[in-house]
């Protein structure tokens, strides 16, 4: 039953998130709002944590799997990739490395004392 409870909770919070986002025309993505609300719920009721943990752990361990169906969509864009594939690939590669570096350097510079000791 534990897994059913956990799944129902996750879906319910996503549902609330999506519903609120739509009804109030919020710029926040529904699942992100759902995550925030669940965070509040867990802070208020600590016993939820133990109930959720086995299921969320499994789901997050294989988060990568969930991106496979969208990635296979690459086959639909053959024509565009033949024409613009190099531009797209270079833009992704360079901008992702820049984003990794800029974020890491900014956060490190602003964190004092306790960081980078590990």
């Amino acid at each position: 039953m534990a897994i059913l409870h956990a799944l129902a909770l996750l879906l319910a919070f996503q549902l609330i998130g999506e519903g609120a986002t739509y009804a109030l025309a919020l710029p926040v993505p529904g699942p992100v709002l759902g995550m925030t609300l669940l965070l509040v719920a867990v802070a208020l009721r600590r016993d939820l944590l133990a109930r959720l943990k086995p299921t969320t752990g499994t789901l997050l361990t294989h988060l990568s799997l969930l991106f496979v169906p969208a990635g296979v969509g690459v086959m639909v864009h053959g024509a565009r990739l033949a024409a613009e594939g190099v531009a797209i690939a270079v833009a992704i590669l360079v901008s992702t490395v820049l984003a990794l570096a800029a974020t890491a350097l900014t956060v490190r510079a602003l964190l004092r004392d306790d960081e980078d000791r590990r």
Partner: protein, 242 residues
Amino acid sequence: MNPAADVWVYLSASPLLWLTLTLVAYIVAFTLYESSRFNPLVNPVAISILLLTGLLAGTGTPYATYFEGAQFVHFLLGPATVALAVPLYEQMPKLRRAWFALTVGLLVGVVVAMVSALVLAWLLGASKATIASLAAKSVTTPVAMGISEKIGGIPSLTAVIVVVTGIVAAALGRFVFNALGVKSHAVRGFAVGLAGHGQGVARAFVVSEEAGAFAGLAMGLTALATALVAPWLAPWVIGLLR
């Protein structure tokens, strides 16, 4: 028609076959990843996509047929995002101490990720629709597709770009951080989650629970910040590039 071909025609049109094969391809890819001792360059998503596109091309199966089965996996992206609340809660004391650095890092990272992609694609002569499709590349798939549609991109192309971005961030993060001498798991996790959304988070959890929680936080905040910023910043930048 011979019986084997008959069974194939029946099964290849049902969602069951492609759902099963998506899981099998991922298990094969993950086993390779595991046996490489989680070398970031042996990316399980990239390997799964190669296996499946090969299979679909070889059997002449259209993507729409494939997705009828795979959509059940795709659907779980939403609940998985909600599930990030658990590691976030557990790392709360650390997150609270670092909130200022993380907020500034978030804004810098989101703008760099978006603007550098737009400018590079423009320099390399990409079309307007392609450039717009790149704007939300560091945001988790369903959210990125929505943003892309709003600013004149092609949502299905954005979905692919997002996945490739995640592969690049997960594969190269370690090398970028080592080159810069960034050692803290919190900082590394936050950066890889920002640049590589869910795939960055998955990679960060392989490294440590702490890195994973910071990556999850970054993924959520990046989706939020990009959803707020992209609809006006991206068209403005694209306008300047004309």
